[in-house]
């Protein structure tokens, strides 16, 4: 096929490009998030202009219905998104990798039960699972959202880890390593984790993006962090009420969110091609 001839040299360049674009988008987000810790264009909690002003030189994306600068809110939203994404992936990774490795080592019956349970948990969309945990915790806070998303991610990570780890454990060098006296923990540390890490880290990057989207959805539904934590989801929910008078408000936070998520996805794409040379040919 003609497409095959082209795929040998072009994708390699495109993928290193996606890694750089991804890093740039995520990096911009990180810089803005850190910046908000020291400086914001205006006071995020108090009015700095008229209500629902259109974009101007003073207020680049206008003001919200209480007259607060909208760009300031969006910048703080970047911080929230990063905290949620990092926190959720950290929780999901630590629980998921542990469970997945345990399942890979477990007896057949236990492994089957764990696999079936994980399949069911995964069949449940992240958002619904998150809604449940948030509902079960007494009040909606940033931490309950992070915990909820982390738990949902842990199921996905656990299943992936289990499959990857089992594949590694079937290799001959594991038997060789065991016979030469390495403990199970040693096998995990020296053979399993280093081998599954490239695939896992790509998955973590993708899960980060999904967690950011899910958190935005939660706060859009009113189940996320309460004010004054600015979240893109809540900004969009508030802006929807005034979409007829101030349409910019319901567009700008979305663009920020999509930029971060796409950045993370591109980063994952690039990571996959750098970390796994076999994938480069097949794409």
């Amino acid at each position: 096929m003609t497409s095959l001839d082209l795929s040998t040299d072009r994708p390699a360049r495109r993928h290193s490009l996606s890694l750089s674009i991804g890093l740039a988008l995520v990096g911009l987000n990180v810089v803005v998030a850190i910046l908000t810790l020291f400086w914001t264009p205006y006071d995020p909690l108090n009015a700095s202009g008229g209500r629902l002003e259109a974009p101007s030189w003073l207020h680049w994306v206008g003001t919200d219905r209480l007259g607060r600068d909208y760009l300031t809110q969006i910048m703080i939203g970047a911080r929230t998104a990063l905290i949620v994404g990092t926190g959720a992936v950290a929780i999901g990774a630590s629980i998921g990798v542990t469970l997945g490795i345990l399942a890979a080592f477990a007896t057949r019956l236990l492994d089957d039960v764990m696999a079936a349970t994980l399949d069911i948990l995964i069949a449940f969309p992240t958002l619904l699972l998150a809604m449940l945990v948030v509902a079960a915790s007494d009040s909606a806070s940033l931490w309950s959202a992070i915990l909820a998303l982390g738990l949902a991610i842990s199921a996905i990570v656990a299943r992936l880890t289990r499959i990857l780890a089992k594949r590694v454990l079937r290799q001959d060098y594991i038997i060789a390593s065991r016979t030469s006296g390495t403990s199970w923990l040693g096998v995990v540390a020296w053979h399993v984790l280093p081998n599954i890490w490239p695939t896992l880290s790509v998955n973590f990057a993708l899960q980060f993006g999904l967690a950011v989207i899910a958190e935005a959805s939660l706060s859009y539904l009113g189940l996320g962090a309460p004010p004054p934590n600015a979240s893109w989801g809540r900004l969009l929910q508030e802006a929807q009420g005034t979409v007829y008078t101030a349409p910019v408000g319901s567009i700008a936070p979305g663009i920020a969110l999509v930029a971060l998520v796409i950045g993370m996805n591109l980063f994952a794409d690039g990571l996959r091609d750098v970390g796994d040379p076999t994938r480069r040919r097949s794409r």
């Binding site: 509902a135 079960a136 929807q240």
Partner: protein, 332 residues
């Protein structure tokens, strides 16, 4: 794709039986998860029946009525027994049977999800195949890029953007709401569902395109397609006669997952457009701490998800040409 465990199951009948057992087991596990989660919710469910300042006797009576005074295992048995009979209790807030309200809500959510699903397939199948076949043309690459973009956009924002364009600027469709008389007024229902369906359809199409694209790429690189071409079939003949059937196999199970996701993902879309579906029922129930409603919606949606998965797996089994041959070969 053939999973290793498939090798042991020669007949389709044995497969159905095994898959059915998994379905029942999954439902049981789901019941356990649901039961545990609802016990984690703060407060005794009996509190919802009581007014402030109730005395001990009233509290005991309420606990008796809800069943929260029984030991946990007995509560669980009652819970599973009731689920099996589709007795989901009565709402704390409205006092109506939960099943009735869910049935009413499903008349909104099911058409919304199915229409969105149909629209997504109508968009994704031709575009996905096109982007794989014409990967080296600009429009093939453009389709892939746009679908990449599509999976990074939250569904509610797509809804808001569509409202901005079609309701605010063009004034073609309503920005939300639902006719009070429901399906008695079909035209108005379809009018109200137009933007929500478009929202779901577009978002789902974006992720579907990627799966269909890679399935098509697998087919294009396959030996049977090359053989068919060598035997004199034209490219499109070979693709239609052999490619679609083989390429559809992995897609079917993904479609099952996507349909289930759509059904539950309708929660957010219903909120954007203020539709009285299953999702808004769940949100309201969580807000009001109406446990029977929360539990009912979760159980029914889990049931739907599992049933869809079951159906998708069976259907996949039926259409897979390789597995079908083996199945009939073993039977005769």
């Amino acid at each position: 794709m053939l999973r290793p465990s498939d090798k042991r199951k020669p007949t389709i009948f044995a497969y159905i039986l095994r898959r059915f057992a998994i379905l029942i087991l999954s439902l049981l596990i789901a019941a356990v998860v649901l039961f545990v989660l609802l016990r984690l919710l703060p407060g005794d469910p009996a509190n919802a029946l009581l007014s402030v300042g109730a005395d001990q006797q009233q509290i005991e009576a309420a606990r008796e009525q809800v069943g929260s005074n029984l030991p946990l295992w007995e509560q669980f048995l009652r819970f599973v027994g009731n689920l099996a009979r589709f007795d989901l209790g009565t709402s704390f807030v409205s006092g109506k049977p939960v099943v009735e309200e869910i049935a009413a809500r499903l008349t909104v959510t099911v058409p919304l999800a199915l229409l969105g699903f149909a629209l997504a397939i109508a968009i994704a199948v031709p575009l996905g195949i096109l982007s794989a076949v014409k990967a080296n043309r600009w429009y093939g690459a453009a389709i892939s890029t746009v679908s990449q973009l599509g999976i990074a956009i939250p569904v509610f924002w797509v809804g808001i953007l569509l409202v901005t364009v079609f309701a605010v600027n063009l004034r073609l469709f309503p920005s939300g709401g639902y006719p009070r008389r429901g399906w008695q007024n079909e035209g108005q229902v379809l009018y109200a569902l137009a933007l929500p369906v478009l929202t779901i359809g577009l978002v789902m199409a974006a992720s579907l395109i990627r799966y269909i694209r890679s399935a098509t790429q697998d087919v294009l690189g396959s030996d049977y397609l090359r053989t068919a071409r060598a035997l004199g079939a034209s490219f499109s003949q070979a693709l239609i006669r052999h490619g679609i059937r083989n390429g559809a196999v992995p897609i079917v199970s993904i479609l099952g997952i996507e349909l289930a996701t759509t059904l539950l993902g309708a929660v957010v879309v219903e909120r954007v457009f203020a539709l009285p579906g299953l999702g808004s029922m769940l949100l309201l129930a969580i807000e009001q701490r109406d446990y029977p409603n929360v539990q009912g919606v979760l159980f029914i949606s889990t049931l739907l998800v599992l049933l869809i998965g079951f159906a998708a797996d069976l259907f996949q089994r039926l259409i897979d040409p390789r597995l079908r041959e083996r199945a009939t070969g073993a039977a005769t």
